[in-house]
């Protein structure tokens, strides 16, 4: 009986501490913690396979090799993206460094500067494809606990974060994001325009142990206007690798050839 009592007391104390710890975590800290789940905090490379479906049928596919490194000044990731497939796009490169976007075609040797509006990958915007630390571009203004269905149709107890763009580099005006309580796993997010129109919904799913922790290996993007327009991004070959700063500039694009 004493043992039972002390166990209950321990649970209560532990619960109080956990509650205190969670209460101490601000919405912005929850957001930052979920960024760490999605993105390693060191340079890395991965393969992103994108498949687009319309009305249930596969309509497009591309495979990208992505090399990312955080900029020590802004904290935001800079990325080099190389097309692997389809064949007509193979070896084309895109450099993302903040709003500095360059497209390089190895056939014409032309480096073309692009605006953020110039999407390259169908429904997936540039901000969806490259690694982004949301906590650097958005301010989470509230966190409300609620249950939601995740991408595998399981109920997850989440913090629903409401966040607003805080820098001009932010792709979206406003985002609602559900982050699982206890492990800060991003579960889903809804992206809105300034007028409040839903642009897209993203589900972060198929969690697997990658580089030491459980990370989502798939993002499902559903169009806000046409929910039968679905883009799936699957991540594979995630490895820690050096990405020298010198590579992340236009003049290096013609020379980029990963082993």
């Amino acid at each position: 009986m004493n043992y039972l009592k002390s166990s209950v007391v321990c649970f209560v104390i532990a619960g109080l501490f956990m509650g205190t710890a969670q209460a101490a975590q601000s919405p912005q800290e929850i957001l930052a913690a979920s960024d760490v789940v999605r993105n390693p905090d060191y340079p890395f490379g991965l393969t992103n396979t994108l498949i687009e479906y319309r009305a249930g049928k596969q309509t497009d596919t591309s495979t990208l090799s992505i090399y990312s490194k955080a900029d020590p000044n802004s904290g935001q990731f800079r990325s080099l993206i190389r097309y692997v497939a389809p064949a007509r796009d193979a070896n084309k490169l895109i450099l993302f460094s903040g709003k500095d976007l360059w497209f390089y075609d190895p056939s014409s040797k032309a480096s073309i500067r692009m605006s953020p509006q110039q999407r390259l990958l169908g429904q997936a915007s540039n901000g969806d494809v490259v690694t982004v630390n949301l906590a650097k571009d958005y301010q989470a203004v509230s966190a409300v606990e609620e249950d939601t269905q995740d991408g595998d149709r399981q109920t997850k107890h989440c913090n629903k974060l409401s966040m607003n763009a805080s820098t001009p580099d932010a792709t979206y005006h406003h985002i609602d994001m559900w982050i699982e309580v206890g492990n800060n796993h991003p579960v889903k997010a809804k992206f809105y325009t300034e007028s409040g129109k839903l642009l897209k919904t993203a589900y972060y799913r198929r969690y697997e142990k990658q580089l030491g922790i459980d990370r989502p290996t798939e993002t499902v993007i559903i169009d806000g206007l046409d929910p039968t327009w679905v883009t799936v991004m699957r991540y594979s070959n995630l490895v820690r690798r050096e990405v020298p700063d010198q590579w992340l500039q236009r003049d290096y694009l013609p020379r980029f050839k990963p082993e």
């Binding site: 495979t63 679905v230 003049d251 290096y252």
Partner: protein, 430 residues
């Protein structure tokens, strides 16, 4: 009477629950979308060192004089090989064979092979690279006219389309030694391309070394980020027996949908007309002066993904409006010599041109890309227009191209032998 409801209550509740779930499922389209996403296959494409495609084209030209139509056919084979065969080492080969019926121009062979690139690259360290071999060294940020693209001279052996991208893609590189030093936010590139041959060789499979290595040339290129989003590129170019030319490339983001660009090259040089006359041995007074060449413009992308580029082009080596408009009447021979020279150096005969380009991916239907282009010569009011519809599948592409040249008979575009042409293309990637 009171018991009856209690018997059916759990069933009714369950039914209502099921109905509610069903309604929820119907109302939540995400569930259907996630089911679709579950179909995604697990295979992952691997990078390839090879890219090979075959392209077949057929079309019809309508001649300006007489309006007769002439059919033409073309078959092209394009190969790229790019392999990191050892740590730090890279081998690049790029070759294209065009077979045309009839030949592209009178006196040209039906088969034209272009060795675009063949070089070895050694990455000494992450920030130092050396290259040796035939390299397509290209510079410039403008879309239609690139005055800092110094190595474009005599680089075209075969022209299969007037699309600027095609002209940049299907050209011969120069044999050179090139070194690059990189640092965070900048780089310095130095290259030397020696004179290796005197006589051009137009035969089908000739490497035609004299075309792009007919004189000693060097180029220094310095890039340095000066503020967030602004990285000017400064160039110094020297060709044998020619004064040094200075170049500048600059781009900036005006807003989320607009990029502005400016490209400039200047230095002392003779006018293109004088160079043309002297090249074939005609004595002509030296008119060397500081001449500017520039291309400035912007690219605007609409919210529905239409990209529009407008560019003002200035060729300071071209003839003044009046001289150009009178040249054909004054001397047809001089006119012909001048036009042939301009084809080689890829310059316009007069000074000012307006260039517009529009493109849209997935236009009207998925996988259909549309592009349209127009060049307007401000000196003689002639115009060249071009449009393309390209439909692509995983390995195959189909394209329909249309081109029209209009203007007075000896104007820039009005002098083209074809008034209009249509071409249908099919390309297959292996």
């Amino acid at each position: 009477m009171r018991r009856k409801p209690s018997v059916f209550k759990p069933g009714i509740c369950a039914l209502m629950g099921l109905l509610a779930m069903n309604v929820y499922a119907r109302q939540d389209p995400d569930l259907d979308a996630l089911k679709v996403a579950d179909q995604m296959p697990a295979t992952v494409e691997q990078p390839s060192n090879w890219r090979l495609f075959i392209e077949a084209g057929a079309g019809v030209n309508r001649a300006r004089l007489g309006g007769a139509s002439q059919q033409f056919q073309r078959l092209s084979l394009d190969l790229q090989y790019d392999n990191s065969f050892a740590p730090g080492w890279r081998a690049v080969l790029s070759d294209r064979l065009d077979v045309s019926w009839p030949p592209q121009a009178t006196g040209l062979s039906r088969d034209i092979n272009t060795i675009k690139e063949a070089y070895l690259s050694w990455q000494v360290q992450t920030d130092q690279i050396l290259d040796l071999g035939r390299i397509n060294a290209r510079n410039g940020v403008a879309l239609g006219y690139n005055p800092t693209d110094y190595f474009r001279t005599s680089a075209l052996r075969s022209v299969v389309s007037v699309d600027p991208a095609s002209l940049k893609e299907n050209r011969q590189g120069s044999i050179m030694l090139r070194g690059q030093k990189l640092w965070n936010g900048g780089s310095l590139t130095a290259l030397y391309s020696p004179k290796l041959a005197d006589e051009r060789n137009y035969s089908s499979f000739s490497p035609d070394v004299a075309a792009t290595n007919g004189q000693d040339r060097w180029l220094l290129t310095l890039s340095q980020q000066v503020m967030d989003g602004i990285t000017p590129q400064l160039l110094l170019y020297k060709a044998e027996k020619q004064p040094v030319q200075i170049g500048l490339n600059l781009t900036a983001l005006l807003n989320d949908s607009t990029v502005v660009f400016a490209e400039w090259s200047g230095g002392r040089s003779q006018s293109s007309f004088t160079q043309a006359m002297r090249q074939i041995g005609i004595t002509y007074p030296d008119d060397s002066a500081f001449r500017n060449h520039s291309a400035t413009g912007l690219t605007y992308t609409t919210s529905n993904r239409i990209s529009l580029t407008a560019e003002l082009e200035y060729n300071g080596g071209g003839l003044d409006q009046e001289k150009w408009n009178n040249l054909g009447q004054a001397s047809l021979q001089s006119y012909g010599i001048y036009r042939r020279f301009l084809q080689g150096v890829q310059e316009t005969p007069a000074k000012r041109t307006v260039f517009v380009y529009a493109s849209r991916q997935d236009a009207l239907i998925n996988h259909l890309d549309l592009a349209a282009m127009s060049r307007y010569d401000m000196a003689d009011s002639s115009r060249m227009s071009w449009m393309e519809a390209r439909y692509h599948l995983k390995h195959t592409e189909f394209a329909l191209q249309w081109q029209r040249n209009s203007g007075k008979s000896l104007s820039n575009y009005g002098a083209a032998p074809q008034m209009q042409s249509w071409q249908l293309l099919a390309r297959y990637y292996f």
